[in-house]
């Protein structure tokens, strides 16, 4: 069993490396096929100045050579220098800004998972009654209203709240303390929370009518125990399944929230790099996020085995 597990992890990791390589290659060539290049600017450049810049970034090499050089650097874990932030290594950018996105993302996922499971269980218990209708209405709102609207509205709400209170209860934007994180994390996790609530509700309802719950009930197991041991534990499985990809989506998809709340996260770099055609940052963030996503999926598959003993890893 132990050996099988190690072999399984090993195999998944190798698959992961191939996936990341594929992502890197596809992004590299797609990016170079987009019209324009990172050196273009409002101010046109003399051929001499352009040649100097091309030489500095190695853009004077044939494309395939650039690709080989890139793969070589990638294997050494070196993503190169940013085109727009010309003094900074892409590695430094990721190292400094990913922890910010990750911190925000972890909190958002915690909010989402905790809220999703609790609200989902509550709606299932109150099926087809008022609390169920109210929560499900809010869930639909949470899923369908885009995050930039929620972010802007919640920020406006904060301003109003602070003005009414006459002092700053919660910061409107910025980063650096616990209080800066609360609102953006809630906003970031909101749509996931709504999604998980719906998922949790339907899987709870499925289980309420299942054989083993009926058996337990007829045996005279106390309802609280049925609820926690039999229903909740089984119903939570689908939630865990989608949690892995959702973690990656949340930690990488914070662009809007980071912009509105002036948070120095990596999401801003990810999006702005594409707008600026900042080749090295595009590659760096894409490969990094790709690897992160692959890793999260593996972790969730492993976790699944622990929660549900019926799942065999192979």
């Amino acid at each position: 069993m132990r050996q099988g597990m190690a072999w399984y992890v090993c195999k998944r990791l190798i698959q992961g490396v191939v996936t990341v390589w594929f992502i890197a290659t596809a992004t590299f060539f797609a990016m170079h096929n987009v019209p324009g290049d990172p050196l273009l600017n409002d101010r046109a450049m003399t051929p001499a100045i352009r040649a100097n810049l091309e030489a500095r970034y190695g853009l004077d090499q044939p494309l395939f050579n650039q690709y080989l050089i890139y793969l070589g650097n990638l294997a050494r874990g070196d993503f190169g220098i940013s085109f727009t932030q010309e003094n900074r290594q892409v590695n430094d950018i990721i190292r400094e800004h990913f922890p910010v996105s990750a911190t925000l993302g972890i909190l958002a996922v915690l909010f989402a998972a905790a809220g999703g499971v609790l609200w989902g269980a509550l709606t299932a218990l109150y099926r087809n009654r008022m609390p169920d209708y109210i929560i499900m209405f809010l869930v639909i709102l949470g899923i369908s209203v885009p995050s930039f609207v929620v972010a802007a509205l919640s920020q406006l709400g904060l301003v109003t709240l602070n003005n009414l209170a006459g002092r700053s209860l919660l910061p409107v934007a910025g980063w650096g303390s616990v209080f800066h994180m609360l609102t953006p994390a809630l906003v970031l996790g909101l749509s996931t929370m709504a999604y998980l609530t719906r998922l949790m509700r339907s899987s709870m309802l499925e289980i309420i009518d299942s054989d083993f719950v009926r058996t337990a009930r007829s045996k005279g197991v106390p309802p609280a125990l049925i609820f926690s041991r039999h229903q909740l534990r089984n119903a939570i499985l689908p939630v865990v399944t989608v949690l892995g990809p959702q973690i990656a989506v949340i930690t990488t998809g914070g662009f809007v929230v980071e912009l509105v709340f002036a948070i120095p996260g990596l999401g801003r770099f990810f999006v702005e790099a594409v707008q600026q055609l900042d080749y090295t940052v595009i590659m760096g963030t894409t490969v990094f996020y790709g690897a992160f996503l692959v890793l999260m999926v593996i972790v969730v598959d492993l976790l699944y085995g622990f929660i549900d003993p019926r799942v065999r890893l192979q």
């Binding site: 987009v34 019209p35 324009g36 273009l40 409002d42 101010r43 046109a44 003399t46 001499a48 100045i49 100097n52 810049l53 030489a55 500095r56 010309e86 003094n87 900074r88 950018i93 400094e96 800004h97 922890p99 910010v100 911190t103 909190l107 915690l110 905790a114 499971v117 609790l118 218990l125 109150y126 087809n128 009654r129 802007a152 920020q155 904060l158 301003v159 003005n163 700053s168 409107v172 934007a173 910025g174 980063w175 650096g176 303390s177 616990v178 994180m181 609360l182 309420i208 609280a224 609820f227 926690s228 909740l232 912009l259 509105v260 709340f261 002036a262 120095p264 770099f269 707008q275 600026q276």
Partner: protein
């Protein structure tokens, strides 16, 4: 089925409540832990917009300054940071007039210039700023290995372009330190506006010993720069915050009245900055048209200033383009009205309808250039426009005009602009404009390739002289993306570049202005401005058309002020 569902058992609910309690306490612990983690990566600014006791203010920047290695900087965000923390040979006063910086006095001759440096100018490590620091910095700008995008601005210095091309060693540059405090510059050709150039960041000095000690990370962090301006940056958390403190080593007492300027927030989101202002966290913020109603309701004092940029339709003169025909261009000019465009379509009160390539604030000999050389007033005349269009149709031998290719950027203003001209030319001339909306880099690529008939474009000044606009349509200027070319224009630009007599020089600019109008090189749209609001306690704050966007170096705090 239904009865079981409705039997929401109390004990089940209690169990759920217990779990909820666990979860909430777990979340609080997680938040606390994450808060500790976040502390190391962010700002700790909590002082509010104005801290009168600490003589400190908090502001927001639009973008993280991408490049503080000033030999290579190209963007306005970096210029703003550098302007507060650095100083060149000359600088600007609070009225945009050139005043002495590191240089006490200077002299510009036909073949070169001499700058006498003050002896009390110091770097933030206490060392004096010397002529050698300028020589080192300027040579570095031209060194091909530095790959400075703004190297061209120094091409008036002897041999600069040849060095930048790699044909001469960097030591051949026409600049030398006669002594520690005398800087001697040799020109490639007469450059009467050289004093305006040296206020630009590319001409700032670099301490060579310090530069070597940064080991390739010059300008990458707060401690990777030496400062000689009224402020020095003591903290920089990338993309989050900065702190500029008054520089005790600065030689003058005519600027730097606020002790600490905190850049507390960096975000492009203009609504987010407005919210910060309303919450009393930042000292000033930009207002876009949608915000003006609320600003008036709150009885804010709305200030306006020009940002320096002129926007126009650039026309393509390449062979085979309809816009290469003068009658066609004439029709385009006559059939539209920038006044209507600015006030009815853009609805931005800080913008001004444009009539000329030169914005109104450009200086002439004694007053404003446009007072000395008034541009032709714009004529909105649809009947005359149609005559020109008919003449163009006959000259080109066309039955009907094919669709016109209008290239624009994907910004909201780009959309409003292109749709306005599409509608106006359809209505007045019966022309069909096809809008080609592209993101920044792709639009530039298409402009460079000449893949357009008309392109919505703008031009902002690098330095405070008419030439920064005046040489735009010389045949050798690479920003002349419509490839307009006329011997008359080239001759005028040469005069404007090197004529030492200011009156004759301004006359050349006057003729350039007329030629641009007669030949319809562009269709002027608007001069861009800012509407903004400032905390009433902050006085002396400026927005500038040239150089930094915002200027706090002359600002001070008046605690009592309420409006």
């Amino acid at each position: 089925m239904n009865d079981r569902a409705s039997r929401a058992n109390f004990s089940e609910l209690r169990q759920l409540g217990l779990y909820a309690l666990y979860v909430v306490s777990g979340l609080v612990a997680a938040v606390w832990l994450l808060g500790i983690a976040a502390n190391s990566t962010g700002s700790t600014v909590t002082g509010g917009a104005i801290d009168a006791d600490g003589k400190a203010i908090t502001i927001a920047l639009r973008t993280e300054p991408p490049q503080l290695d000033y030999s290579r900087a190209t963007d306005s965000s970096s210029f703003t940071v550098l302007f507060h923390n650095m100083e060149g040979l000359l600088t600007y006063d609070d009225n945009m007039a050139l005043i002495p910086g590191v240089a006490e006095r200077y002299e510009i001759r036909e073949d070169g210039a001499t700058f006498w440096l003050r002896e009390d100018a110091r770097w933030s490590n206490g060392e004096p700023v010397t002529a050698h620091d300028f020589v080192f910095a300027w040579r570095r700008v031209q060194d091909p290995a530095t790959a400075s995008a703004y190297a061209f601005i120094m091409y008036p210095v002897k041999n600069a372009e040849a060095i930048n091309r790699g044909d001469l060693p960097r030591e051949a540059l026409g600049v030398r330190a006669v002594s520690d405090h005398i800087l001697e510059v040799e020109f490639e050709q007469p450059t009467p506006y050289f004093d305006k150039l040296v206020a630009f960041v590319t001409f700032y000095p670099i301490n060579e010993a310090f530069f070597e000690s940064t080991d390739g990370r010059f300008g990458a962090d707060a401690d990777m720069l030496l400062y000689n301006g009224p402020y020095r940056m003591t903290e920089w958390v990338h993309s989050a915050s900065m702190r500029w403190e008054r520089n005790p080593d600065y030689w003058g007492d005519h600027k730097g009245f606020i002790d600490t300027i905190n850049v507390g927030y960096i975000t492009q989101d203009v609504n987010s900055r407005l919210n910060l202002f309303k919450d009393g966290q930042i000292a000033d913020t930009q207002l876009v048209p949608q915000m003006l109603g609320e600003a008036m309701e709150r009885r804010w004092q709305i200030d306006r200033s020009m940002d320096g940029t002129v926007f126009f339709l650039q026309l393509n003169f390449r062979e085979g383009r309809l816009t290469a025909n003068r009658n066609f261009r004439k029709a385009l000019l006559l059939a539209q009205d920038p006044v209507e465009f600015v006030y009815k379509a853009l609805k931005e009160p800080s913008y001004m309808p444009a009539v000329s390539l030169f914005p109104f604030w450009i200086r002439g000999v004694d007053s404003y250039f446009r007072q000395e050389h008034p541009p032709m007033p714009h004529e909105y005349n649809v009947a005359k426009a149609r005559e020109h269009l008919e003449a163009a149709r006959q000259e080109l031998g066309l039955e009907e005009f094919p669709p016109i290719h209008l290239l624009a950027d994907d910004s909201p203003i780009g959309a409003v602009s292109s749709e306005y001209y599409q509608a106006v030319y359809a209505r007045n001339l019966g022309l069909e404009l096809r809008i080609d909306k592209q993101i920044f880099k792709q639009r530039l690529a298409k402009m460079d390739a000449g893949d357009f008939d008309i392109v919505v474009s703008g031009w902002g000044p690098d330095y405070d002289d008419a030439l920064t606009f005046g040489d735009l349509f010389s045949s050798w200027n690479l920003n002349n993306r419509g490839r307009y070319s006329s011997p008359e224009m080239d001759a005028l630009v040469r005069i404007a570049q090197s004529e030492l007599d200011p009156v004759a020089r301004m006359e050349a600019f006057g003729k350039i202005q007329d030629l641009v109008h007669d030949d319809v090189v562009i269709v002027p749209m608007y001069e861009r401005g800012w509407s903004y609001v400032v905390d009433p306690r902050l006085k002396g704050f400026k927005r500038r058309a040239v150089g930094p966007e915002v200027d706090y170096t002359y600002a001070w705090i008046d605690e009592q002020a309420t409006d």
